[in-house]
Amino acid sequence: MTIDTLINIGINIGISIINIAIVFTVAMLHVAYATYFERKVIGHMQVRLGPMRVGPHGLLQPFADGLKLFFKEDVIPANADKPVFYLAPVIFLVAALTSLAVIPYYQGFVIADINIALLFIFAMSSLGAYGIIISGWASNSKYAFLGGLRSAAQVISYEISMGLSLVGVMIMAGSLNLTEIVNAQYESPYGFFAIPQFIGFIVFVIAAVAETNRTPFDLPEAESELVAGYFVEYSGFRFALFFLGEYIGMFIMSSIGAICFLGGWTIPKYITDILPFLSYVPGIVWFLLKVYAFIFFYYWIRATVPRYRYDQLMAIGWKILIPVALANIVITGLLKIKILL
């Protein structure tokens, strides 16, 4: 190896580290303000104001919350399985954060541009479920354990329908690489895969809500029956790790939705043909707009729909979403062959 290649590798690693730092910081700030906007949006939907005291219109509330969590006592139950108890939130957060690496935020800005990005994200969200399950086990509390078991069953059920709903996108794009999926969408006459893949889109949105354990599928953390579900026994910063993981999970699911169905950082050509000035808007703006639309939808549905019963949850997953997603794959596949031939 020559000096030049070594320098090149060094520069590449440096750029990667800078990219990682940027993405990590933005993601953390995003989580902080996602909690703020969640409280604001749900507050206003319930004809309340939401946080108003810390800073103007409560804008500093996330920092107050973070500080509070940081200084809270770290309580560990006496009979908890200690090493596993320590490990669980880390697994959960790491799985969520790792997924951030493969998401393309705009053309060319992606930490790891791998060809199996979509598969990688599925794998990571499944790993996150391990964090939930073993936290439920290690807490040695019946509430936490029930939450963990519920989460296991729920995540397994909905991962299938989510994966199947995205197969249609994979067939249309012919790739698992997220950048290529976005480019394929831009090249296609529809602009958004949500138009030809509307069945897959609906299945994906429902499954994504279930996958991130959000209302109306928040049975693993059902406040009214399981106190807080799998993280009942966690406090202080360990609790914050779960919280961060959940919100980053939401951000990732929203990003996948935006990338796979709404064209990521691009807007359809037929829109720029009519309104040419829109093409000057940087791609990151479109990407974030779409992601925030998804996240707003999460909040909106949380403020609207009450929690499903567990058998209803399973029935929706297995009896409706999976058959519908399968039918969607068959139809998409047949159409693809028909058009190609």
Binding site: H44, M45, R48, L49, W300, T304
Partner: protein
């Protein structure tokens, strides 16, 4: 899950009910919130509000207007009014102490209603939380100063005229019956 009609089936497929709910929550998002930002904004106090107690100060004597008949204490559902009277030199009843235990009061206003001489009042003050029980035990002096602070002048007059018409105004006392007369006019 029994689906009877085509309409029900369509409702199920297109999430009609959920969409209706979503439309409702979205419309609420843009409506004015009903929250009152309490320490900054305060709720409008309606006339006749029943807040902290006050004892009417007699402008002539400078002491309580109360005659110590004990009707308010008898009516009081939570039995939180304590009246201590003594006999004066001329054989008249003197109210020594009139005390209210605020922590037991239910703010029903029966004491004000019962009083024939309009000598007790419920003021519009509701911000008097404190750290000790003693601070919320209203002695005669505290009750009198409440009157001076919150209800003196026109406000106190209107208060009784509008909401608690004293019985002594509607029904004059029969001649010969022992009645309260202001000290010194005997």
């Amino acid at each position: 899950m029994i689906i009877k009609t085509v309409k029900e089936l369509a409702n199920k497929i297109f999430f009609i009910e959920i969409l209706k709910g979503l439309a409702l929550t979205l419309s609420r998002l843009f409506s004015r919130s009903v929250t009152i930002q309490y320490p900054k904004e305060k709720r409008l106090i309606r006339p006749g509000f029943r807040g902290q107690h006050a004892l009417v100060r007699d402008p002539d004597t400078g002491w309580v207007k109360c005659v110590g008949c004990g009707l308010c204490a008898a009516y009081c559902p939570s039995q939180c009014i304590y009246i201590f009277t003594t006999e004066g030199d001329d054989g008249k009843k003197i109210v020594e102490k009139y005390e209210v235990e605020l922590l037991r009061c239910i703010y029903c206003g029966f004491c004000v209603e019962a009083c024939p001489y309009s000598a007790v009042a419920l003021t519009e003050n509701y911000e008097y939380s404190d750290y000790s029980r003693d601070a919320l035990y209203m002695t005669t002096e505290k009750l009198l100063s409440n009157w001076d602070k919150l209800m003196s002048g026109k406000k106190g007059e209107d208060y009784f005229k509008k909401f608690w018409r004293p019985l002594s105004e509607d029904f004059g006392t029969p001649e010969g019956q022992a009645i309260y007369k202001k000290a010194g006019k005997g």
